[in-house]
């Protein structure tokens, strides 16, 4: 016997197919009363006697997103968060420019740093006391 053709039905498949064929022939036929009920509902929806489908319910995350102002709002919030994290790691050194400017304009002024670290805060406190 040669190798089985994968496209050829096996004997088992053919036997099952005889059952499937009988099953297809014995499919449930709709009664006139059933079709009339379905059509009556179709006409009722069309005439507005039955309301159309409500919008799908929002999940919890969709609600949160909506509260943030949609994808635009959430995107802005995400950007601000990332910027904050970045400043936390890398922004301390860069804040010296503004500090230097303020210090140069008035030597007696209290040191102001937008993002103070511990040392500059302590220095500012000493200057205030002095």
């Amino acid at each position: 016997m040669t190798m089985a053709d994968p496209h050829k039905m096996t004997e088992t498949d053919m036997e099952l197919e005889a059952f499937f064929s009988a099953g297809r022939a014995a499919a449930a036929e709709p009664s006139a009363a059933f079709l009339a009920r379905v059509l009556a509902e179709a006409e009722a929806v069309q005439a507005g006697r039955i309301a159309p489908a409500p919008p799908p319910r929002q999940g919890i995350w969709a609600g949160v997103l909506s509260a943030l102002g949609g994808w635009g709002g959430a995107g802005g919030l995400a950007t601000a968060t990332i910027a904050g994290v970045w400043l936390g790691f890398a922004g301390v050194q860069g804040s010296g420019t503004l500090t230097a400017f303020l210090a140069a304009s008035d030597e007696a002024a209290i040191t102001l740093e937008l993002i103070p670290d511990f040392d500059s805060f302590a220095l500012a406190a000493l200057e205030t006391e002095g």
Binding site: D13, E15, F19, A28, F34, V38, L39, A42, P52
Partner: protein
């Protein structure tokens, strides 16, 4: 009821016409799709009255969703198969499997017609009983593939699973059917030749 006078118009276009108030579209869609929903529900549930309830509910959902139907997203028939399938699954879960099995009449053994063989109705009844014994998902896949004649990708979309999972379900379902029906070959018109 009149014949489908819009047989050349696709379901999706008919649904738009329906949503726009065309009464003929309602009739055409009813004649085209309600029998399909009923057929699937009857095969899934094995009980006529319950199948009619499910098919009517699925059709009602179609009517209600019509104004919001988005063209090109899915075939109406695929959508209806999915909704009908899900409604059937809900019913089966609620009532438990035992009722489904009991609801299917067993062919009577030993009657002359069975001995003479080749009785289509008996084969159909035997198939129905064997299908009812399958796990829900296997039965659904086998019914959609071999009785409704859908393709595996279509079934995958209806059942919301991958094509490979569909193939696996139908293969397992067919093996179980073969085992269940194998013992009945002689009485259903097969000899061993």
């Amino acid at each position: 009821m009149a014949l489908d006078l819009r047989s050349d118009v696709p379901d999706e276009a008919l649904l738009v016409l329906y949503a726009n108030g065309d009464p003929e579209a309602a009739r055409a869609l009813t004649l085209r799709l309600a029998p399909m929903a009923l057929r699937l529900a009857a095969r899934m549930l094995g009980e006529r009255t319950e199948a009619e309830d499910v098919a009517q509910e699925a059709m009602l959902r179609l009517w209600r969703v019509a104004p919001d139907w988005r063209q090109g997203e899915a075939k109406v028939s695929t959508w209806l198969y999915r909704v009908t399938s899900n409604l059937c699954t809900d019913r089966l879960r609620r009532r438990g499997r035992s009722v489904a099995l009991d609801a299917v009449a067993e062919p009577e053994d030993g009657r002359p017609g069975a001995v003479a063989g080749l009785i289509e109705a008996d084969r159909a009844t035997a198939l129905e009983a064997a299908l009812a014994a399958l796990p829900d998902r296997q039965r659904q896949a086998v019914v959609l593939r071999h009785l409704e004649g859908l393709t595996n990708p279509e079934i995958a979309e209806i059942m919301e699973i991958g094509v490979e999972a569909v193939e696996s379900l139908t293969a397992r379902g067919k093996r179980a059917l073969t085992a269940a029906l194998g013992g009945r070959r002689e009485e259903l018109g097969y000899d061993n030749g």
